[in-house]
């Protein structure tokens, strides 16, 4: 049965159902319980924004607080995964990858290859992405292009509560290392989510809106902005098809290429930094494989090549919004 719940509840529910189903699933991270070692309540926080709240009461020691030692505990999750557990490890903000990145890209991502196919590392790293919280340069980044760059990792970026739950369950059951990116500005998004357990396969894009004039590819929070823009543009007579890849590695190239075949025009909207970013990655793929379909330059709508500013007026300019998407679509639609 589907009911409306928040994105963050969808995450919680996915964890809950998988922990109930499979005793090898464990959860760890900074304050994912909260209160460990103190004189107050346990499960005091359930994650810095409350996403894992309540799991401690049900699963006790299978959800564990950690010291602030990301290399050690992310590495521990990875090591435990090679030894038969299915850890879901929280890296609070993706911005913190710099203090534990080696364990992810040199260890987890490469074990299977380096060891000639003998290792299996079913670890999930859940992490918050994105701007919009006035959290400034070190707590607002997207950075998933960096993980997408690395062979051996899978990268998942849900844009709705429905996808959050289905993709997270898939991530936990998946036998490869998965980076699961949760946009903090989506936590409060409400949407229909089945109460039973279900999975969404990786590498299958979602066609969020069908259209015939311009293809928009968008991820995470940008999907909603693209929808807003598309609604406005529809009134102007421009029909947009919106594709949400949902996973950037693997990437569903076919769905994007098919759409561009129909529309001939492509706008990619991404909140990550532009250089060697996700928008560039998709643009390059289409410029290689879908060139014959293209009737206009590919447009990329991204933030500028700057850190994320603190001040609200600047941050709002930094984040690609519906207005910039509309302008980009109009541009490519008019191109002849």
């Amino acid at each position: 049965m589907a009911r409306k719940i928040l994105f963050q509840q969808a995450i919680n529910e996915a964890l809950d159902q998988e922990m109930a189903r499979d005793s090898s699933v464990i959860v760890m991270g900074e304050d994912v319980v909260g209160g460990t070692g103190g004189n107050g309540e346990m499960d005091a926080w359930g994650g810095v924004l409350g996403v894992t709240k309540g799991l401690y009461g049900k699963y006790g020691d299978r959800i564990m607080d950690t010291p602030i030692s990301e290399s050690a505990f992310v590495g521990a999750a990875i090591g435990a995964a090679t030894c038969g557990l299915r850890p879901v490890c929280e890296l609070m903000f993706i911005d913190f990858l710099g203090v534990c990145f080696d364990q992810i890209y040199n260890q987890a991502a490469k074990f299977r290859y380096m060891f000639g196919g003998k290792a299996k590392t079913p670890v999930v790293i859940r992490t918050m992405i994105g701007a919009g919280f006035r959290a400034a340069a070190q707590h607002s980044q997207c950075l998933y292009p960096i993980f997408t760059h690395i062979p051996g990792l899978k990268v998942v970026i849900p844009s709705s509560p429905y996808e959050a739950k289905g993709l997270l369950i898939q991530a936990i059951r998946d036998d490869d290392p998965v980076i699961f990116c949760e946009h903090k500005a989506l936590y409060a998004m409400e949407g229909e989510v089945p109460d039973e357990s279900y999975t969404i396969p990786f590498g299958e894009a979602n066609i969020v809106r069908e259209g015939s004039d311009v293809t928009i590819v968008a991820l995470a929070r940008m999907v909603g902005f693209a929808q807003k823009a598309a609604a406005t543009l529809a009134k102007e007579g421009i029909s947009c098809e919106i594709i949400d890849p949902r996973t950037t590695s693997p990437l569903d190239e076919d769905t994007i290429l098919e759409s561009v075949e129909n529309t001939g025009r492509l706008v990619i909207v991404d909140e990550a930094s532009p250089r060697c970013g996700m928008a560039a990655d998709i643009a390059a793929m289409v410029a290689q494989k879908g060139f014959a379909s293209l009737q206009a330059p590919i447009a990329m709508v991204t933030p500028p090549h700057t850190p994320v500013p603190f001040s609200g007026v600047l941050e709002d300019l930094y984040i690609p919004g519906p207005a910039r998407i509309e302008a980009a679509v109009r541009n490519v639609a008019e191109y002849a």
Partner: protein, 322 residues
């Protein structure tokens, strides 16, 4: 080098300024005027002041997410700080950094830091620069009990020791890293125990007592300036507010904060001692209180009235030249 009357009044002023600043930010944040994540330093003033009263503008400090106190302790302008916290163009960082990134290189404040454990490596560099340039300067890394478990912190202590750097590691142990108790996350009783593994002296002091902090720091600074290498100073103290603004602190015992505020207020303790032992009159302190209150009022008023950054500011200051 005993503290003069002026020094004591200055120490009081710094502590009081921190306290007023933080209490006021707390109020303003609750009103909704301040954006972002804000971590308050109230309760820990004796540490910032006790440390920084040993430093000059040539000395450097690196701070943490809980940086307001270190800034004020090191002499960063309060008006600029308040404007920064509001994200205004007149802020220390022109509104681009916010509470977690206030820096002021002129006063030797190398920056608050959004990354736990981000500061200690930088401090090794600041100390190295002082050593190579022969300035006689020292560099101080402030970090919390939580940060004491970060690899960067350990590495930095080792590096400072093998390079014999004029660096001082100040572990502000307030018992918590977010909602996790140090009793759990730090695998030894006193963080200062770890100094032995890095061949440096380590000491634990009561952070509610300005004088204890000051004295331990004086020794450490003298050692550093004299070429004797780094020291680890653990300061045990308590924070008056939550981890960040909005934290309900249910991981603390119900009466913990009340008790701390009543029994362990470093400023009241300082005031009692200097008025009884140091020939300082209560009125002198009261006068400072008034000045500080006005200063903070004024800082908030000016911050509120200040202009936002300009749209063009979005893309400046990324590179010096690109």
């Amino acid at each position: 080098m005993a503290l003069s009357r002026e020094d004591l009044l200055e120490a009081y002023r710094r502590m009081k300024t921190i306290r007023e600043f933080e209490e006021r930010v707390h109020v303003e944040f609750a009103k909704g005027g301040i954006p972002g994540f804000v971590h308050l330093y109230a309760g820990e003033e004796a540490s910032a002041a006790g440390v920084c009263m040993n430093l000059t503008d040539d000395d450097k400090i690196a701070s943490t997410h809980r940086g307001h106190g270190h800034c004020i302790g090191k002499g960063v302008d309060v008006h600029g700080m308040m404007a920064e916290i509001y994200g205004k163009r007149t802020g220390t960082c022109r509104g681009k950094g916010g509470s977690m990134h206030i820096a002021d290189l002129d006063t030797g404040m190398l920056g608050a830091n959004g990354i736990v454990g981000g500061g200690p490596p930088l401090v090794c560099g600041a100390a190295l620069a002082a050593k190579i340039k022969g300035t006689g300067g020292v560099a101080v890394a402030f970090f919390g009990d939580g940060a004491s478990n970060q690899g960067t912190t350990f590495e930095s202590m080792n590096l400072a020791s093998v390079w014999k750097l004029p660096a001082i590691f100040v572990a502000e142990n307030n018992g918590y890293a977010e909602a996790t108790a140090a009793k759990f996350s730090v695998s030894c009783e006193d963080i200062s125990t770890r100094a032995a593994g890095f061949g440096m002296p380590g000491v634990t002091v009561d952070g509610h007592d300005f004088f204890a902090v000051y004295d331990a720091m004086r020794e450490a600074v003298e050692r550093a300036r004299g070429g004797g290498g780094p020291t680890l100073v653990e300061v045990k103290l308590d924070r008056f507010f939550g981890h960040f603004e909005g934290d309900n602190q249910n991981y603390r015992a119900p009466d913990e904060v009340k008790h701390v505020r009543e029994q362990k207020d470093c400023i009241r303790r300082f005031a009692r001692r200097v008025t009884s032992e140091h020939d300082i009159a209560e009125q002198e302190l009261a006068a400072i209180d008034d000045e500080v209150a006005k200063l903070i009022d004024d800082a908030v008023a000016q911050a509120l009235a200040a202009p936002d950054p300009l749209p063009a500011d979005l893309t400046t200051d990324v590179y010096i030249k690109y």
